[in-house]
Symmetry: D2
Subunit: 378 residues, 4 copies
């Protein structure tokens, strides 16, 4: 069992909140370099987060190769480039699907900029989460917006070099409340199918309707060769962006078991395992560490499933027996095993305590004074 | 504006209920012929239901051409053939996706029988609603079940004559509670894409997760040329199978407006507009009449939308103006218009009253004594 | 049929948005006086909005009697005082239920300030929406927080003069994601029962779990004499705060029918009918006008129900007949009736067009330049 | 740590299913005596199920004292008496809330019969789950039905001897789809408050809207002294009635942690811990054993929480620290501990294997031939 690499989102280290209030935290980074410093801390104690996803324009810098070297010096690679189509005043009625062709062109230009940044950072993936949609019935034509979306996706896909991928995320609602232009995995999948092999779906675990079976979607996309990435987080109600595994650890286990079954938990494959979270009230770096531990524990349990016994029970129609095989793995306490693996890898067996003792939390609070704290996105 | 043809389900005239209780009703038909008599009554007073969907084995008869002639004599065509894969003891763990190959073969045989019946009845469509799924995590392999499903669909599609269609329905849950093998439109769509042009999706309006935007799915499928049929009903919570338009008439209007926008409300096209309901506590024939009236009213409103004004407002980014155009049509009372159309067509302007006065309700109660009342499925 | 008075929220005229982005609008008011000017415009054209709810601290002024006179000169009364317990940095882990007694005391002080303001403005009601809750299991004791809440409510209730009321709102989630301390009507009701006669429940139509039957709650609270106020808005998914009646006009009608049935639609009674909305992408004043029209239309339909015929059908067990009586009223186009009533009252029959022609929209854009635009809350 | 007594429902041993199909199982009991035999098996291997809940009329016998002795001889007490108001043809439009007074009287008579049975069986609790409601808006008056409900509850409560309790269950939907007359805990609680101290609320874990925080309700009711019983089961979508802990074991742990915090996990107190499940596709007795094990594991974890550390972290506002204390207990594998406890109590450490090896499963299949297999309700 090797460590599953988890990609961290640079924005998880910045301030975040709800529409009601963003509670600032002391020690929050003020620029992409400081964010990378924090990512490196998580990696230092977990050994599991060798890359960071960037968000443009939040992580815009003058010299991306220099940023990449700065990260590499700390053992961190620059990962997925995330586009932002929701914070420009022009995007009030949409970006790629806006009825106004000039706005659409502007949004496309932003994606082209992101592709350029990918080349400069060495990133494999451009991730597109489309916030576009409508708030009121009749506000715009659902179909016309799909036409505009299809055209924009074609154009940006055509711009991608042959060794890069376009990752298309979906979301049920928010920021738009009546329609989202990519509301579910089916719409994302359909567009990716039309585009070609290097267009793949991103599953954000917080972006579904109540009652949706997420591991089913994961299994379906893996079977179809179309699962490109996860945005991990957890939710009780909507897109709460809580620590992954905090709301329903059994669901996380089931999702990762589908990945394990498809041979996708080895790392280095098609699926990028990324966090996408908001630590609104808890400290950022410990929030990320806890998230990584939760993923590790769920992954370890997923890999412990006795698949031979499982398949035998399934094929025999032994409902309770098959369920019991799965639950045996889930009910196992894998923390000692993971602690041993960390020790063997030269890490502290308890990453959270080690971080809290490290002096880093106090240092960033003392040093990161003045300037503009980083803010966030979803 | 012509009348939109609505296909009635034969089973809506039989007894139905919840898992707690089926309340029988006096006068319920005892065989397919009596069901057709009832369908003909609805058609007689609404002029809008020229065909009936059959459900096999509930509507199995020895001589389908004879049944077709019997129907034709009353102005009714035999429509969609609905397969039943949920009531045989062998299907406890699934039919087409059962881990046992013998059960899968039996299920496939049933579909082949349905194709034979289609040829005998002259039906265009075979509709497959797959009740298969699992109740417990681990019970069976999600992926293996998709493989089995894909194989079964290929086989049955290969059996279809070139002028017939396979309509694939989806459903979020029930009767299975952990996974359904075709839980959403995306899975149905993906399989239909793999099959070919004559495989199309059926949208049952009661089969979605809370918060799902159904008209979006309708618009998407129409754009993709993959909307084959509706199963109309309404719901407040789950698959309640109430009278269409009873729970959210504005949603029904929005759905039909998407059909109108795509030119699919003219009738005679790719989309079969079918009811699929359970009149658990209300009388069956009036329940169907009310459903047809609700569809007619929503369709009339959908056709009243001033699409030029709507498009102009949409393109101008006039959110409230565009919404107002839609709402103007919705807020119109179209009942007088529909009454006039009925009168012009030689019908009573008030189909419900005319039916209740017709003597038919009393007659069936008096005459349909003895025998076995028809029961239902969803 | 008289006009139902609708109370407008001052904050609906300020900028609002989602956590992703607040899109500013030209002409937005910059202080409470300008908000009142806008409220007066809505009242001028609809004749239906004679009062405005204030939000403290957003509407803090030095001289409340002066503000009240300013409003009165335009025909507007100062209505409900809304407390704000979510925007102070100290409230990160809660206000009235915070584990820290000092924070709780501060929150209570704010409520006391609100009571003082009520006396200065002549407001009848203090409305408490409690944003408190937790994001993670274990974060705090659910029970201890209820104890703290009960104590705080007792203290503030004791401060209220005998002719004033405390209105307690509830909300399923947001800003907290694991627990809210007042998540549903039951919690609000239970606390109000403990407090006394002048503590009543506020129903915000956007604050429920999917599938909740809101009119049932309304009927239940009216029967118990505990419905104090509505916060009207509409939602497709979560607390979307869209224009009331925009998402489900039939639901709004059903809610108002329960009010009509209980004799609560006459105005001047126990129930305050307030809007609570965010016009994120549409213009504010037209958004409020449209909302008022939607309430008026739904209320007019509710009053059109033939209650004698309804009761007769209900008592006869005539399911379809009773439903038809209700639907007959709902399907009626009441816009001509309302236009006539407006004309009779000396108003323009079409308030929206009259407003748009009035020159006011252009004037506020031209004049309200510089300064700080008002922002919002929920 | 002592064993938490779990009450089993007699009907879990009978056949059950969905509205689509009931799949019969070999060996299912044919009368209340055989059900008690099966309950005794579960108790024999788990040592944790000393009582059985009866359902009237399904468990009607001529001689209840004899049934009680038969049970007592096997170490089983007769527990809660569950009324059935949903399977009589007269109840199509409701029982206690039916518009027809004669039907209401009949329903009340049934409850009186249940009280008589309680006296004969020595049961403490009469449990009322009210299936009443409406399917269509307007079908009946929400308020009138509450009046009828209040009156019926008063009458039956007045009939209860002073040492007996009335337990009032609530349910969001099903079998009624528009309104349920007791849809949520608030309605149940409000009626219980009006009745008196011996009226308490039953929380069925499958009867809530999506997103409802059940442990919050549990904590609230425990604080108010109004939690009378649980109906344990689990669900992914609606009232799925699956094995408790199968869908969301973390939720079960959180619920039982609230019970532990309130000192309600000791057994012998006010709260009856009952299962209420349907083993539609899995074998009944193993399904019950698995359920008991799941409750035991969750309860053991709940009791392992370091409450001092938890309270300290909560009071310090240490969000992640407090959450970690809770998760440490949840992540512990308590199965070895429970196995040791069983061994100490003279039980097999692995109840499921011991049962499967016992010969009982084969015996009931062989012996229970002929007769009418028991069916069920919810």
């Amino acid at each position: 069992m090797r460590t599953l690499p988890v990609e961290l989102p640079s924005w998880a280290f910045g301030n975040s909140g709800t529409r009601f209030k963003v509670f600032g935290q002391a020690g929050v980074p003020r620029n992409p370099y400081e964010k990378i410093d924090d990512v490196a801390q998580v990696h230092r104690f977990t050994g599991a987060t060798p890359s960071v996803a960037l968000h443009i324009p939040w992580d815009r810098v003058d010299d991306y190769p220099s940023l990449a070297r700065y990260a590499a010096d700390q053992g961190i690679a620059l990962g997925t480039i995330n586009a932002n189509l929701f914070q420009d005043d022009d995007y009030k009625l949409g970006s790629l699907t806006n009825p106004d062709a000039a706005v659409r062109a502007k949004a496309l230009d932003h994606l082209v900029e992101c592709v350029d940044i990918m080349l400069a950072t060495g990133s494999r993936d451009l991730k597109l989460w489309l916030p576009d949609g409508t708030n009121y019935p009749g506000q715009d034509s659902i179909r016309a917006r799909q036409d505009r979306l299809a055209e924009a996706l074609r154009e940006i896909y055509a711009r991608l070099p042959a060794d890069r991928r376009l990752i298309v995320e979906y979301k049920l609602f928010e920021p738009a409340f009546y329609t989202m232009d990519i509301p579910d995995w089916g719409v994302s999948y359909a567009h990716c199918l039309s585009l070609g092999d290097r267009a793949m779906v991103c599953v954000d675990t917080g972006h579904h309707a109540p009652g949706t079976n997420i591991e089913f979607i994961v299994a379906f996309l893996l079977r179809a060769g179309k699962l490109g990435a996860f945005d991990f987080n957890s939710r009780f109600y909507a897109d709460d962006d809580l620590i992954v595994g905090a709301a329903d650890p059994f669901q996380l286990f089931r999702i990762l078991f589908e990945c394990a079954s498809a041979g996708a938990l080895r790392g280095g494959g098609d699926v990028t395992y990324m966090l996408d979270q908001c630590h609104n009230i808890e400290p950022k770096i410990p929030g990320q560490i806890r998230s990584v531990l939760n993923v590790q524990e769920a992954a370890a349990k997923a890999l412990l499933v006795d698949t031979e016994a499982l398949t035998a029970a399934q094929n025999a129609g032994d409902v309770l027996g098959a369920n019991a095989v799965l639950m045996d793995a889930y009910n196992t306490d894998v923390r000692p095993l993971l602690a041993d693996m960390r020790t063997a890898a030269g890490l502290d067996p308890d990453p959270m305590s080690a971080y809290l003792r490290s002096g880093y939390p106090e240092r960033i609070v003392a040093e990161r004074v003045g300037g503009q704290q980083a803010g966030w996105g979803a």
